[in-house]
Amino acid sequence: MTTLVKRHASALGLVAVVALLLIVFSDDGVVLGRLTTIAVIGLIALSVGMGWGQVGILSLCQAQFAAVGAYVTAILSVQYDWPVLLTVVPAAVLPMLVAAVFGRFLVGLSALTLGIATFVLARLAHIAITNGGELTGGFLGISGVPRVDFAQSQLEFAFLSWACVLIVLVLYKNLMDSAFGRALRTIRHDPLRAEADGIRIETLQTKAFALTAGVAGTAGWLYAQFLSYIGPDSLGIALGISVVLMAIVGGAQSIVGPLIGAAVLISVGDYIPVESARGMVYGGALILMFLLAPGGLAAFAGFAGTELRRRRRHRADRSPAPEGQEAVSWH
């Protein structure tokens, strides 16, 4: 049990802090809404972090995978009367299938080309959604998406969202500690070594890309219920870019980094009086992060913690010996 807690310390710590905030601000609708937004958008940012930070796949279409998940939820629950809880399966699986199909052709590309190709995919997805006729509701979208029975209130839904975050974080950490995760890390850092080890690079990368799409699809499932509406611009191209910025600012290689990035940028964004100026803050934060802390906020916090501990140890070593003990001289 202790080992389990130690292994997932960062994820558990983060979710514990959020759970405390949810209890303290249980009557404050604004805070609950913001925390739920952070959970949902943070999950999409996490899917970017999984792809870019662990596998080297820079995807600018994660928001569109989330949109696929959200539309699946909306279509099945509103138009076909499926129980919302059941729609989580197709909402996660369909984006995975789409990613697996495109991934076969895309993962072999260079990081830049892959990024641009996924951006083009995002544009194509947007065109498909707006021209989806009655199925997707066209430009109007689909409204009246119900919530799962056990999370009807804002507080319950916030807890559900963060429970999903915790489950994804635990599975993500386990995955990265498994042979599959180690193989992915080898591909990220030394593709030649991976090939020499007999790792089927493109197959593994395609699987990882599909998994990231599954996480984004789950976020979409939450999103459709949270706003009880999904439209073509709800999870649009702009959000696809913002989540990349969040993942990098928070630290794409860290397990909780993208969530931290989402929390910081969403919170800061809410305090900027002019909405149109948010991009300046997001873009500026990205530039500063690359120049000052390339590993993101999570890596910076880790470095600061290590440095603090080192200095404290150093001070303790230099402090005078307690009474009754003589300082040992080596000279």
Partner: protein, 280 residues
Amino acid sequence: MITFLEFILTGAIAGTVYGLTALPMSLVHSTTHAVDSAVGGYVVVAGFIAATIGGIVGSIAAIIAATGLSLLSYGLYILLRRRGPVNPITYVLLTFGLLTVLESFILWWRGPDGIVRSLFSGEIQVAGMSVSPQALVNLLVGAAVVGSLLFVIYRTPAGLWLRASASNVKGANLAGLAVDRLWASVFIVQGAVAGLAGVLLLNTAGMSYQSAAHLTLMAIAAAMIFGFRGPTTAFCGGLVLGVVESVAIGYVSGAIATALPFIIILAALMIGSRNVAVRA
């Protein structure tokens, strides 16, 4: 037949702007192996400045502003290099941040509405086709920029130094060439050409704050079509994309017309990327 040729000509006009955005980006890539993804932002900022000030003064101010932004990007590149060897994708992402800042700045400054300006009224007849005089201006400017750049790169000592610094940085430094200044001059050219593209785009199809990311996408795709081989092929790639876009809109209707250029870009990226890989 005439209609088809008109579509091609219309496409070539839009393609000139894509080409003029891709050309300096490719020049920077050929020299420094870095891709400045904020180049679409310089084009749009230049266009908005030209529209706000107006006249020749506005156009000159637009080119100066775009050049300044490109130099700012070079400053960021220098700061990154101080930390050690720069991973090309790191610079792409950093300039992506700059692009986001510029997009947001334009949205904050001028709002979400697009702008367009028309210098010429009426159309002229060329070989039985109705052509806007602006079309001819765009094509002439595009040809002049490509010709001048090719002349500088292949026929002048500065071009030789530039090519030397591109193929072997250490060797160029040891030979006494000021590589940093040479690269700065490439970024100046990038900004100036992007500024020019902004002025042309303002007078052709117009622009909004959202055009910045679209132009960057088209520029990278244009450069990728022929495998990031150099400025000339990047410009030609831009022309090809413009023509494909125009013909698709002309002959196919509905959602497919909107999607077709993106499908072609996707195919071009995949083929172009394989070309780069094969050459590597």
